[in-house]
């Protein structure tokens, strides 16, 4: 199987190109979709033309609703929302319209739309309105699916599944991952939404993390192993809704410990949901309480210096994980 080392951004682009070539109903829309600040859709207008690569005005709610209308009437729009923070502007279109259309219409209208939630998360110092981790927010709306890949391989497989899903899918992209490189097969493959993966095997405890935080967790777990001999398993759910609890339960059955590392805040966050679910269903598999490592409960400051105090960093994650094994 031929594969090549490409960036996360290139992997998404490859997935988009494959699906656009296969299906003329697939089209792109968003702000600056031609040149594109994240380079994901750059140049695609030359290949697919202006009918299928549509520049949209700064009207996130309007064009996300348009994507819903288009999806319901026989096309498959892939919408880029430039920064995750802007989903709050488009909240009505996504949470009131896309999530509910099929249900309210008595299954008459489907809504096979993909919202690419680009530029998510901290790390570039972009401040409170361009750095948030808002993936927990759409989790609250039945009808929406949420994918959040952490590797180029997963990104390509998941964007292709998102486009072919009959439900609205929010595909989150962490801004620090765009330049991350990884091996990606040149042939077609799909990763089902709702299927997690153990990214590193271990026996002493299970870390659940995703996106950029997952990379830090992988580094930290290697260091902890070499320094302390603690062998941690690292689980990447890859999708947040539906969430693959089966694989997580198999992991904690083996390790007996659960540590959740996330970039959003704790209250009402992704980790809150995971820990509540595990507590309800499988608390007996754990031999110590659940640990959550998350951002400080503050809005996000501008500048990388400020970010380093708010977001969990490598040192803090490592320290708090080691503490789990000291009590």
């Amino acid at each position: 199987m031929a594969s090549k080392k490409i960036t996360f951004a290139e992997a998404i682009k490859m997935g988009l190109i494959e699906e656009m070539k296969k299906n003329k109903e697939v089209f792109l829309m968003g702000e600056d979709i031609e040149i594109n600040v994240w380079s994901v859709t750059r140049g695609l207008i030359e290949e697919f033309g202006s009918n299928r690569v549509r520049s949209m005005p700064i009207s996130e709610n309007g064009f996300c609703a348009a994507a819903v209308g288009a999806a319901a009437t026989g096309t498959k729009p892939v919408v880029e929302i430039m920064y995750s923070d802007f989903i709050l502007v488009a909240a009505d279109a996504i949470c009131n319209q896309a999530a509910k259309l099929r249900y309210m219409s008595g299954d008459q209208f489907n809504c096979p739309v993909t919202f690419r939630i680009a530029g998510s998360g901290m790390g570039s110092g972009a401040g409170s309105h361009h750095s948030q981790s808002l993936e927990a927010l759409p989790m609250h709306f039945p009808g929406l699916k949420i994918a959040f890949p952490s590797t180029p391989y997963d990104a390509k497989g998941l964007i292709k599944s998102a486009i072919n899903d009959k439900n609205p899918v929010l595909f989150f992209e962490h801004k620090l991952l765009y330049s991350k490189k990884g091996e990606v097969p040149e042939n077609e493959y799909y990763i089902p939404i709702g299927e997690g993966e153990i990214k590193k095997e271990g026996i002493d405890g299970t870390i659940v993390s995703y996106a950029h935080m997952l990379d830090i967790c992988l580094e930290v777990s290697e260091e902890i192993y070499s320094e302390k001999g603690i062998n941690l398993e690292v689980y990447d759910p890859r999708s947040l809704r539906p969430f693959d609890y089966e694989t997580l339960y198999q992991s904690i059955e083996k390790t007996g410990k659960l540590i959740i590392v996330e970039e959003d805040t704790k209250i009402g966050g992704v980790g809150a949901e995971i820990s509540a679910k595990v507590s309800e269903e499988k608390i007996f598999l754990l031999d110590s309480s659940i640990t959550r490592i998350a951002s400080e409960e503050v809005p996000i400051p501008s500048g990388k210096y400020g970010h380093s105090f708010v977001s969990p960093d490598k040192r803090r994650i490592k320290k708090e994980i080691i503490q789990v094994f000291q009590t």
Partner: protein, 342 residues
């Protein structure tokens, strides 16, 4: 583009009824009368059912039949319609069945949306999009349907209905801008019934004539007397033809009036937030009465034919109510096991 390009269209002094009658023909004119009467009797039936204690969400069409019903009746079956909350005229105009409408309004399994939508009607077979519950979102959704039509290269058009109240929602402006810049096949149909709930629109709206907003979006804007079905059918028919030919969207404002309250529970509509005289004055211009008088005067339909039509519709309404009452309620699964589509 200039202010002059937004103009009152087909003012009663300027068009000839006979020309319109000849253009549309007896069958089409009769169909429009049937739809107007069906809408009025459906409203009356729903009000009666509410009085009897049946819980139905009612935003009646009374007074707006000449505007809403006529515009929706002009569309072809394949054309799309994105409705707003006001009335059932768009559903009747688009050809939905009275039985399935009433069944849905009573949350029955046999309704269009399996009893999940209630007043949020939709009918895919009629290309009637869901009557969503967020004011103004219609325009964003309709713009997307326009994109879809353009992608598929069909000759369909999409009509988007909104009121004077939601004309101020950001969604309407965003949708009109997207439609204009993409030259989408859309009719933006602003039904100006003058009241947003209990508030007269002029208190909250920057312009008296909402069609003026077309200027900002570089599209033609027209104003028409919504109490005159002939003027409405002519303007919509001509506009739809232009939009269908690929020339981009058009905004039409109908000047009309909501006889009753915002909902069946509005007790302030007659002598509260507006005077009884104002309401009575508008009722003198009743669109159905006006339409029937003209049809008789120009020998399109006889008194006997109209009585026959009237009798048939009343019977159909009765049958529809019986159908809705006799339909089963949906199972629990219909409501709870539907989060994802496999």
């Amino acid at each position: 583009m200039s202010v002059q390009s937004v103009k009152p269209a087909y003012d009663s002094l300027h068009y000839k009824y006979q020309d319109i009658i000849r253009e549309f023909g007896k069958e089409k004119l009769k169909k429009i009368l049937i739809n107007m009467l069906k809408t009025r009797y459906l409203d009356q039936e729903i009000d009666q059912l509410i009085k009897e204690g049946i819980p139905i969400t009612q935003h009646s069409t009374y007074g707006q039949e000449g505007s809403q019903v006529v515009a929706a009746s002009i569309l072809e079956k394949e054309d799309y319609l994105v409705p707003n909350h006001r009335g059932w005229g768009w559903a009747i105009g688009k050809g939905l069945s009275l039985k399935k409408i009433l069944a849905e309004l009573m949350y029955k399994e046999t309704g269009y949306c399996k009893g999940r939508g209630g007043p949020h009607l939709a009918s895919k077979e009629h290309n009637l999009f869901l009557r969503v519950g967020i004011q103004g979102s219609y325009a964003g959704l309709a713009a997307g349907i326009g994109l879809s039509i353009q992608m598929k290269k069909t000759k369909d058009v999409c009509m988007c209905i909104f009121g004077d109240g939601s004309s101020n929602a950001g969604y309407i402006h965003e949708g009109m801008n997207i439609a204009s810049t993409n030259k989408l096949p859309l009719i933006f149909f602003c039904e100006n019934n003058q009241y947003a709930l209990f508030t007269h629109y002029e208190k909250t709206t920057s312009v008296k004539d909402l069609a003026l907003r077309a200027l900002g979006y570089n599209m033609p804007g027209y104003i028409v007397d919504g109490m005159n079905a002939f003027a409405v059918m002519k303007l919509f028919s001509d506009s739809i033809q232009i939009v269908r030919s690929g020339k981009g969207p058009i905004l039409i404002e109908t000047k009309t009036y909501r006889y009753s309250g915002h909902t069946a529970y509005d007790n302030f509509y007659y002598g509260g937030y507006r005077t009884k005289e104002e309401v009575d004055e508008w009722k003198k211009k009743d669109p159905i009465h006006f339409y029937i008088e003209k049809l008789k005067y120009f020998d399109v339909l006889t008194e006997e034919e109209i009585i026959g039509i009237d009798r048939n519709i009343k019977r159909e309404i009765k049958e529809a109510t019986d159908y809705a009452f006799n339909s089963p309620l949906p199972s629990k699964d219909n409501f709870t096991r539907v989060a994802y589509l496999d």
